[in-house]
Amino acid sequence: MSSSEACCETRQAVYTAQFENLDDIRVFVGDAARDSGLESAEIYAVQLAVDEASSNIIEHAYGGESQELIECTCLITPGSLKITLKDCGHHFDPSKISDPDLTSDIEERQPGGLGLFFMRQLMDDVTFTVVPGKGDLKDCNILTMIKRKEGRG
């Protein structure tokens, strides 16, 4: 085995922006998380974070279910998983999302904003970038999330 094979493996899958695809997306990243050596709780965390991110893309970037695409790439390394989700919908500015309400009484509780909060709490690194489209192509959004096995940097 060459050193590059021992180092890492990249897997990619493309889904249409449909909520029914969330099952497949969770299985895809769950398998990658397992193959990165992550523990059961960490695998669930990855699946939850990616579910939230994908739901946000469908709901907000694409404004609802459509035939637009979500491209998911997993970089599997021993003890760490890097996931990128790419969409070419509306730009998302995470700084405009207020922190979720975690403490109000039931009457006052506003359940919004939990998706982004979960992503940040569950993953070790969450980054949003925009790739400008060339020519007539639309700008695209790249979300990068990293999960490291507990005890690794």
Binding site: D23, S55, E59, F117, F118
Partner: protein, 111 residues
């Protein structure tokens, strides 16, 4: 995701099976709405066989709890919540908003 409804004299029990995400949360909400639209606001949710719950499912829970607790007419209580689901609820600050039971009998008996 599937739900099974059992009506008791003092409360309704909804057993939920499968995954609650953005695709299935509307169906989960319908199951709760159909009970609440009957004027029944004392609800036990048996979540033992829920494999996954995203914030879409949590939003349904909070909406139902708001409706049921209004005018002190009832409450949604949770039984057999799987560890991963509980951890997500804890992260979201939901734990103080619900009663948790380790068995269905105790949950039903609480009403």
């Amino acid at each position: 995701m599937d739900t099974t409804l059992t009506q008791f004299k003092h409360c309704d029990l909804i057993k939920v099976t499968g995954r609650i995400d953005s695709a299935t949360a509307p169906k989960f909400a319908e199951a709760l709405d159909s009970v609440m639209n009957d004027g029944r606001y004392k609800i036990v949710l048996d979540l033992e066989n829920v494999e996954f719950m995203s914030s879409a499912g949590l939003r349904v829970l909070i909406s139902a709890q708001k409706v049921c607790k209004r005018y002190n007419r009832g409450e949604v209580v949770l039984a057999l919540v799987p560890q991963r689901v509980y951890e997500a609820m804890d992260l979201a600050g939901f734990v103080p908003l619900f009663k948790f039971f380790e068995d269905v009998t105790g949950a039903v008996g609480s009403f």
